[in-house]
């Protein structure tokens, strides 16, 4: 077991593909995407077989359960079959992608198998296993403690302390840092921002396609100064939705990972199992919440002002 219990708030690069740094979360997302596509191919194949044999397989049952459940969920919000059918592909994709990424992060080996790398003074949160003083921020090596006003006879001592601190910081920043190969895709802010942006772009697209010019009036309205101000607030609200959406998912999943790491370090046996159960639940709930909020955003975007 390594001496340092290392938790990084941002995804760490595992290798580079040209200029693009392939981080451990991207690597995990790619694996998860491959698994999801394989599942879709398997379901499609199972459907083809079922047509000839007239027997419904487990995969088909699972896929039907998923599609029917999400269809009913969307229908309960929209109450319009045409809209439901339009929203379905995105909602199915959100749910499956987020759920699989959340749960993949709980698999053994994810976050624990990796390599050691000398850190180049990046801002990191490092949890020390020995003293468990959580969290300890390891600041950049160049940064030093602010000098405090000291008594003349204490100056030499303080200088020594500063020097020692610098030496310690440099030593720590250049000490090998553990970099896991895999990290839950949704525990990376870039992934959650990407998902939140897709959600909001889709909301704007459907808002425009359903309401045409009326949708723009929601943001740019010169009918009265109050409405103009409300429009600006609406515009700001659309951007803040991306942030709140992205941080909600990231925060929940990352917090779960930190919780599991800390609990596993404190009590390695039995106790983490309860928290794993909790995280399985949280992973499903977060996927559900993200999908449900997306449906609500789309529904709100496609309704005129008179419905609000």
């Amino acid at each position: 077991m390594s001496a340092n219990l290392h938790i990084s708030i941002s995804a760490e690069p595992v290798f580079h593909l040209g200029n693009l740094a392939i981080t451990n979360s991207i690597l995990t997302s790619l694996i998860v995407s491959t698994l999801i596509i394989s599942f879709a191919v398997a379901v499609n194949w199972s459907l083809t077989i079922a047509k000839s044999t007239k027997k419904i397989g487990t995969l088909q049952n699972l896929a039907e359960f998923l599609v029917e459940g999400l269809y009913n969920l969307i229908q309960s919000v929209t109450n319009d079959h045409t809209k439901t059918r339009r929203f379905m592909p995105l909602i199915v994709a959100y749910f499956v992608f987020i759920l699989c990424n959340n749960w993949f992060g709980l698999l053994p080996g994810v976050g624990t198998i990796g390599f050691k790398e000398v850190a180049e003074g990046e801002e990191q949160v490092v949890l020390l296993q020995q003293d468990l003083s959580l969290p300890v921020a390891q600041v950049q090596a160049s940064e030093t403690k602010p000098l405090e006003v000291a008594e003349p006879n204490q100056v030499s001592n303080t200088t020594t302390e500063i020097a020692e601190t610098n030496v310690d910081s440099e030593a720590k920043s250049k000490s090998p840092v553990f970099v896991p190969y895999f990290r839950a895709g949704t525990a990376d802010l870039n992934t959650t921002i990407a998902l939140a942006m897709i959600t909001q772009f889709a909301a704007q697209f459907w808002g425009l396609s359903y309401l045409k010019f009326d949708y723009i009036k929601k943001f740019i309205n010169f009918s009265s100064p109050i409405m103009f101000f409300v429009g600006i607030l609406e515009l700001v609200g659309e951007f803040s939705k991306v942030m709140s959406y992205a941080f909600r998912l990231f925060g929940n999943i990352f917090a779960g990972e930190v919780l599991l790491t800390v609990i596993s370090a404190l009590v390695p046996l039995v106790v983490p199992m309860a928290f794993y159960g909790l995280e399985i639940f949280v992973g499903a709930i977060q996927a559900f919440v993200f999908s449900l909020l997306s449906i609500i955003f789309y529904q709100v975007a496609t309704l005129g002002h008179h419905y609000e």
Binding site: N19, S33, V41, V43, E64, V67, A93, L189, A194
Partner: protein
């Protein structure tokens, strides 16, 4: 936390690919299958409703036929009873006539036989009386006298 645009774009593309695959390989075929199933269920329900309506009609016509059959049967039974009574009456009448005829025939026959027997008995008696008289008185009576005597005696006996 470092937000990097290339990584966001990469994840957007990644998600787009997943969405496309899920849509064309999973969602659309499953949705098509479920639509077909739903239409089959609707067809089945309407067929079941039609069958139920047809059954109700059949039941109604069956009840109607049964009622008519019961009426016809009652009429037939009544007619048959009447006919049976008539036949019975005719048969009884015929039997009565036949028995009367038979009785009268037997009576006639009996009268003839009785008369025949009486005649035979009379002749026998005459001969016996003649024989006895001849032996007692030693005179042979003529048949006319004997017959008159015997006839008188027999008439007395018969009374």
């Amino acid at each position: 936390m470092d937000i990097q645009l290339p990584q966001i774009i990469f994840q957007v593309i990644n998600f787009g690919v997943v969405m496309g695959a899920l849509t064309y390989l999973l969602y659309k075929p499953i949705q098509k299958l479920m639509d077909e199933r739903a239409s089959r269920i609707v067809e089945g329900q309407s067929a079941a409703e039609a069958a139920l309506a047809q059954k109700a009609n059949l039941d109604e016509s069956k009840r109607k036929i049964e009622r008519e059959a019961e009426k016809k049967a009652a009429i037939l039974i009544e007619e048959a009873a009447k006919k049976a009574t008539e036949i019975k009456r005719e048969a009884v009448e015929k039997a009565r006539v036949e028995s009367q005829a038979e009785t009268s025939k037997l009576k006639d026959q009996w009268q003839i036989e009785k008369h025949q027997l009486t005649q035979d008995m009379r002749q026998e008696m005459i001969r016996a009386v003649m024989t006895v008289t001849q032996k007692v008185i030693g005179v042979k009576l003529d048949e006319k006298t004997d017959a008159k005597l015997i006839g008188d005696e027999l008439s007395k006996l018969m009374k």
